[in-house]
């Protein structure tokens, strides 16, 4: 019999007795929020805001989409790669999105000044 992995939760029995497994990130969002808050504190002042959405990527796999607003310093061309590499490494290492939560991580970035122009609520 198939057993749920450490990053999965058996969510419900369907009418034909098939058990559906969903990623732990969906089943335990309060715990995920806490874990992300803890990681955010490690990221320093260059991460001005960090938001996320759970969903599916284009192949239908469970995914977490991070939206990260960077400081102007961190989003300068000569700093951008270093800044984003450090952020993604920290999130991969401390949150372990796929291994611990069952979701593939994707990262989206914009600078404070770009967000000031676009004023998108999802990034605010």
């Amino acid at each position: 019999m198939w057993e749920p992995g450490p990053n999965e939760t058996a969510s419900s029995n369907t009418r034909d007795n098939e058990v559906v497994y969903i990623a732990k990130a969906f089943a335990q969002q309060a715990e995920l929020d806490q874990a992300i808050d803890q990681v955010k504190q490690m990221l320093g002042p260059d991460v001005v805001r960090l938001r996320y959405t759970l969903g599916q990527d284009w192949t239908g796999e469970s995914a977490i989409f991070f939206r990260i607003v960077l400081s102007e310093r961190a989003s300068r061309r000569d700093q951008l790669w270093n800044s984003t590499s450090q952020i993604e490494t920290a999130i991969d290492r401390h949150l372990q999105p796929l291994e611990q939560w069952g979701v593939l991580p994707y990262f989206n970035y914009r600078s404070q000044s770009e967000q000031a122009v676009l004023q998108e609520e999802a990034w605010a």
Partner: protein, 167 residues
Amino acid sequence: MAYADDLLDLAQHLANLEPANPRQACLRRAVSTAYYALFHLLISEATLNWGRSELRSELGRVFDHGKMKSASEGKRSALNAELGKNPPPSQELVIFKRLHTVADTFIKVQQKRNDADYDTGKEWTQTDVQTQIRAVSAAFESWKAIRDEPVAQAYLVSLLGKRARPE
């Protein structure tokens, strides 16, 4: 690798075309082109192993975006497990990290390419686009450093995808 390198240059050119107020179309094409640069780099590297050069482009058409993503996920997970053990510094560790960069970047930029090509509601910014292009550049550098390593060559073969053989 000339075509893949040209695509990466083109992605950067498109991203820089209108620095002050870039149109979404330029930014979207830049993201998509950066993905295709990595896609074609890996395919061209894989098909280079085929002895009959006149058939390499035909062989390249066997590769599938979804299967390449699945294979990259498998490799990424396996490497995460290895790297998570905090192994001591070694040449093997350097190779693993570089291959992780390639597989991880492939997964991420493929999703970006899908967003850029099909999600017209998404607003792209220079920051996001430059991050993607730089990630692909780093994946190119990593690949070129490990391309002859057995683990890198095995990764190329895995990109073809697996299909269970009927019993």
